[in-house]
């Protein structure tokens, strides 16, 4: 075992949240070490292949997933510099004001400890810093905020065709706001619209940690260690302060990295797993878990794709993986609908023939020559849009420790997850609507994929009441003042929008809080 030099702050994870913390703290003169479980990556080794892209997904110890609607961990997680944000689709949407007040307004879930208005300035600042392409005026559902700094990305045949169906039914669409450059922005290239987002954008047009906050952090003196797999947060004798983390390197050697402040930004699975594995006699149920809430309220959005074949060529190879147009006509949570929950459509996702979300898997029951024939047709004429549906949090949806162990003897994570009645009704209403839209658009064959899970949230939720949450609104744990959590783990509710924009905004807010209160937080 080696004990390396103590630093001001150690950050576990180099993804969206961790990279923001690293940049802001390093730029303020703090000594920063980032521990990344996966290998080093740069733009130069993001190769254009859906097969190769699987290397960007989690390759560490697996997670057991169970329940009626098991979450998808490996596909949603990252492995290597930049974490999951390297392969994210960059649909950057704001949560709506009501998403922060689900308990107050609807008696469901928990309220966030902050309002939309409190987070809005950070959405606006990150938006300027990173760059978002979109048309705020066309997004009639959009919460208040500054207009986007770049014009929207282009819309190709696939989305144009589907939009006709929305229009026929009196439903509105708008360009999806994306953290992808429609024009050169802050020295980064514009998007080529060739649909390789999932494989990592080598052009640097898609905002991810490799082109944004990690270079800033490293330029300001931060250090990143790869192949550094964190197993536990270590605490002082009283158990009320973090003193660093334990990690293992690629050779299996154990190290201790001491720090004044510890930030866990290791995604929705590893954040609670590390806390639970950090149990000691002082905190036998896991660190920062006096509430018993660590690991609970894991959430995923419900999702499915509506598919349709059109007589026209859809040119579905053009655009971005995350889609081209957006509709949030069903985002409003109106209990009169028969359920509580919102949803959105991401319209016209750029496709490839293979991979989990590829053309061939739109009809998983086909094989043999029928599959060849389908691919020949669908590669020219298939169109699709993606449903994103809200799931209300439940304490029964939880991450617990498994009987199985990782190579270092620490229990794996086991996640149980189920969609409740509201989520299922919301999903069914959406899918019915989606098929109607495709028929109105002129598709001659329409079908829907099975219900799946996308995005991972919760597990270390924030809240005002220390008896019912793990952290305050800054991600600072109630039990250990110098231990912070970052990322979508903090979300008490998840709305129905892609989480990354909110992750960035929260991380910026937390990093600034940390700096503003540094003296008080680091004095033991």
């Amino acid at each position: 075992m080696t004990r390396v030099e103590k630093v001001d702050i150690v950050i576990v994870g180099s993804g969206a949240a961790g990279s923001v913390f690293a940049a802001k703290l390093a730029q303020s003169g703090k000594s920063v070490v980032i521990l990344e479980a996966g290998p080093e990556r740069t733009l130069k080794n993001l190769y254009s292949s859906q097969i190769w892209a699987r290397r960007l997904k989690w390759a560490g110890p697996p997670t057991e997933t169970e329940g009626p609607d098991p979450v998808s961990v490996a596909f949603n997680s990252g492995w290597g510099t930049g974490g999951a944000a390297v392969h994210h689709y960059a649909n950057w949407l704001r949560l709506h004001p009501e998403d922060f007040e689900m308990q107050s307004r609807f008696g469901r879930g928990s309220d966030w400890p902050i309002s939309y208005d409190e987070l809005r300035p950070f959405y606006d600042r990150i938006q300027r810093e990173v760059g978002i392409s979109g048309d705020a005026r066309a997004e009639v559902w959009r919460p208040a905020g500054e207009p986007y700094p770049m014009p929207p990305l282009p819309v190709f045949a696939q989305a144009q065709l589907i939009a006709q169906g929305f229009s026929q039914l009196g439903l509105r669409t708008a360009p999806v706001p994306m953290a992808i450059n429609s024009v050169v922005y802050n020295g980064r290239a514009a998007c080529a619209n060739d649909g390789w987002c999932d494989a990592g954008c080598t052009l640097g047009a898609l905002a991810n940690p490799l082109v944004l906050h990690l270079p800033q952090a490293l330029a300001a003196g931060a250090t990143i260690h790869h192949h550094s797999y964190v197993t536990r947060v270590l605490t002082n004798t009283k158990g009320d302060r973090a003193r660093g983390v334990e990690y293992y390197d690629a050779k299996g050697q154990r190290h201790i990295q001491e720090a004044d402040v510890v930030v866990l930004a290791a995604f929705t699975v590893q954040n609670p797993r590390i806390l639970l594995n950090s149990a000691t006699a002082r905190h036998p149920n896991g660190l920062a878990n006096s509430s018993g809430v660590v690991g609970r309220y894991i959430m995923a959005h419900s999702t499915a794709n509506v598919f349709g074949l059109f007589k026209e060529e859809t040119e579905n190879f053009m655009g971005r993986t995350g889609g081209q147009l957006l509709s949030q006509e069903s985002y409003v949570k109106d209990p009169h609908k028969g359920y509580v929950g919102g949803s959105q459509w991401l319209i016209g996702n750029a496709l490839k023939p293979n991979d989990l979300l590829g053309i061939a898997n739109s009809r998983p029951e086909l094989f043999g020559n029928a599959l060849h024939e389908f691919l020949a047709t669908a590669s020219q004429h298939l169109a699709t849009m993606t449903f994103v549906g809200e799931k209300l949090p439940s304490s029964d949806d939880r991450l617990a420790l498994s009987e199985k162990k990782d190579p270092y003897g620490f229990p794996l994570a086991r996640i149980t997850h189920a969609f409740g009645p509201d989520a299922i009704k919301c999903f069914e209403a959406g899918i019915k609507e989606g098929q109607t839209i495709f028929r109105a658009a002129g598709a001659y064959d329409v079908w829907v994929s099975t219900r799946a899970r996308m995005h991972l949230m919760g597990g270390v939720i924030m809240g005002r009441d220390a008896r019912m949450s793990v952290t305050n609104s800054y991600g600072q744990t109630h039990d250990a003042g110098n231990l912070f959590i970052a990322g979508s783990s903090l979300f008490p509710t998840g709305g129905a929008v892609n989480p990354t924009f909110s992750i960035y905004a929260l991380a910026l807010r937390s990093a600034e809080y940390l700096l503003a209160h540094w003296g008080g937080l680091t004095s033991s």
């Binding site: 130069k44 080794n45 290397r55 023939p353």
Partner: protein
């Protein structure tokens, strides 16, 4: 207005174009005594499998040929065999949150496939008529039949079907067969 095919070419810089042309070389490779070659080349040259047994390889080839004609010749067995030796394998099984050994997944799945074939038809899966093979594969795609001891049969079907799709259509050559523009940026310069 330009079509997307025209407009993307009009907007490309020379550097972009060179990158894209380089991307056209992206392929799946397997390690062999001849260096990095495609799975199809590995099969054609009779490269020995190193993780799967020869019998398992023959069954996987037969299954691949049913799932997507051409997968056998494209080297599905050599692709899977090679990936099973990698620290971070690339087959779709990786996305399935499968916690047990990947090698066991294929070994048990193939063994169970042969056992089902034996129980139903008293023949090896490789020796069945195409109609019988398709009937069995269709059944496995829906449920794990009685006596199936491997990974869930629908999961085994889904994963191996995707292996077949990857080797036939996951490369620039595969995209070309569908007249589907590849538009790649960077080709892998390393063993993968």
């Amino acid at each position: 207005m330009d079509s997307p095919r025209e407009s993307i070419h009009n907007s490309l810089t020379r550097r972009d174009l060179l990158l894209r042309m380089g991307g056209g070389l992206v392929a799946i490779t397997v390690s062999s005594m001849w260096g990095e070659i495609s799975p199809a080349q590995a099969r054609a040259r009779g490269t020995a499998l190193r993780t799967l047994s020869a019998a398992q390889g023959r069954t996987l080839e037969a299954l691949g040929g049913v799932l997507l004609p051409g997968a056998r010749e494209a080297g599905i067995a050599h692709y899977v065999d090679d990936q099973l030796r990698r620290d971070n394998p690339l087959f779709l099984l990786k996305y399935m949150d499968y916690v047990d050994s990947y090698t066991t997944f294929y070994a048990e799945g193939l063994r169970s496939l042969e056992r089902q074939s034996s129980v139903r038809y008293r023949q090896s899966f490789r020796a069945l008529s195409r109609e019988q093979q398709e009937e069995l594969v269709r059944a496995l795609s829906r449920n794990s039949p009685q006596g199936w001891n491997g990974p869930p049969a629908p999961l085994f079907y889904f994963v191996t079907r995707n292996d077949a799709i990857d080797v036939v259509y996951g490369t620039p050559e595969g995209f070309d067969k569908l007249n589907f523009p590849y538009m790649g940026h960077i080709r892998p310069p390393e063993r993968w």
